[in-house]
Point group: C2
């Protein structure tokens, strides 16, 4: 997903930063500006998306962008400022699939601490089986569980969320899944 | 919580940034470096914390830091890189209260989109009523619902999470609360 090279210069004054523990009682090494004292915090990113369903089928998008070009994913992307998690998940579903849907409950929270990300997937009930995917998507298509291209799924968070979704569907009820991958 | 002044200089090369829509198909204005083309994304921050309980009592911490110095809060703070949401919530509970506890389920997800934050609170079952608060806390104390200092609660996310917690306790069962404030 997003590549994060180390911070080299102060975002407030342009001076080369130092890496050290700040003097304010902090316990972690941060990029600190020796000129204006700005501390550059780096924190995990939130990825928000949906599991859009139409009867027994789930909507997947074939990626038209790197990474994982040509592989299938649930609609999802980085949460932006000035939106809620639900609004972000809905925005990504419109952008990547051009889908029409009603948002439902939070379905999975997946920690990917290795890359500093938290992924949140909401269930979404499609209100049409017609899609209008944006530039990031080659194709948006509905899949029965038996049709899911498991060998061509782009991200592990999509894979585990789909596995939980179909397992819950077989059990007849959906609950929140809290996972670390 | 964390103040976010606009980015002025490129974190990779120190050149003054421009604010414009990047040329990569993006639709939002970002801080873009005219020299090395680095795009500086700014995304919401995740705050992680706990609702620690001991029988009918809940643990609150009196803040020894700004903002909201001297007011009461649930133990919580910004999630760091290289930890899961649960690990971050546990870390903050140790740092701010010096509490001993068992982590339980996710209890509230509170969007604070006005300031670009998502707050996640987990229930935690205290295994001792002795605390050893860190430098950020004046006092860590257990409160019955009738004793909660509602007029001296530091943050709205703490207030709504406490309200949901005591309402669920009266009903006899806890579920996930998904809120926008």
């Amino acid at each position: 997903m997003m590549h994060r090279p180390p911070i080299k210069f102060c975002k407030q004054c342009g001076t080369a930063v130092e890496y050290r523990i700040p003097d304010d009682g902090d316990t972690k090494v941060r990029a600190v500006c020796p000129s204006c004292d700005t501390i550059h915090y780096e924190n995990p990113l939130t990825v928000v998306g949906t599991v859009p369903s139409w009867g027994d089928r789930v909507l997947l998008c074939k990626r038209n962008i790197e990474p994982r070009f040509g592989l299938w994913t649930l609609p999802a992307g980085f949460m932006e400022l000035n939106e809620t998690t639900t609004e972000g998940a809905a925005r990504e579903t419109v952008e990547e699939a051009g889908a029409q849907f009603e948002m439902q409950d939070l379905f999975s929270l997946v920690n990917v601490s290795r890359v500093g990300q938290v992924h949140l997937f909401y269930r979404a009930k499609l209100t049409s089986d017609q899609f209008d995917p944006g530039v990031e998507t080659i194709e948006a298509r509905l899949f029965l569980e038996s049709e899911i291209p498991w060998e061509e799924i782009a991200f592990h968070t999509t894979r585990v969320t789909l596995e939980c979704f179909f397992a819950d569907r077989r059990k007849g009820g959906f609950s929140l899944h809290h996972l670390d991958v």
